[in-house]
Amino acid sequence: MTNYGFFKRPQKKVCFFCKEKVVADYKNIDLLKRFISEQGKILSRRATGNCSKHQRTLAVAIKRAREIGLLPYVAK
């Protein structure tokens, strides 16, 4: 089959937490900041490439960090 080169599939992303073998923690703000948008929203799984299990723990961690005031609910 001829490969024309423009049908390249996007590379499959690997879950960061599976790869690094860490668990999302609400105290690790520098890590959590990588998974929120400029407005402070949690990035979707499509954007982060996380597996469903770790995306869930990540979402809980970000919400906890928001509650205690470490992360903003809405960033200006």
Binding site: Y26, K27, G40, R64, R66, I68, G69, L70, L71, Y73
Partner: protein, 103 residues
């Protein structure tokens, strides 16, 4: 007995002695309930993600402790009534269990 973690966001204008008296008060609740404090971690002043009670920064402290479940309601009551604490976050520590399952 279960292990818990509490994070406190404390009024940044407090002096050291007032901070110590606050810690003693909270530690007393835990030790009176035959609990044990395993770790204390003082983060110091940090900026808040958003304004809480007109404060823009707070002193953060993390306490890890093992205590009976019955004491938790008393501890929460004390912390909630304490005006020096702006916010608190109490979480159950289950990290050990999770790592066992994964291995």
């Amino acid at each position: 007995m279960r292990s818990y973690e509490i994070m406190l966001a404390i009024n940044p204008q407090l002096k050291d002695e007032e901070l110590d008296s606050l810690f003693d008060k909270i530690k007393k609740v835990i030790t009176d309930g035959k609990g044990e404090i395993t770790k204390t971690n003082k983060w110091g002043k940090r900026k808040l993600g958003y304004e809480i009670k007109n404060f823009t920064e707070a002193i953060y402290v993390v306490l890890n402790f093992d205590v009976d479940e019955k004491i938790i309601s008393e501890l929460e009551r004390v912390v909630r009534l304490e005006e020096r604490v702006i916010r608190y976050l109490l979480t159950l520590q289950q990290e050990k269990k999770i790592s066992k399952k994964e291995n």
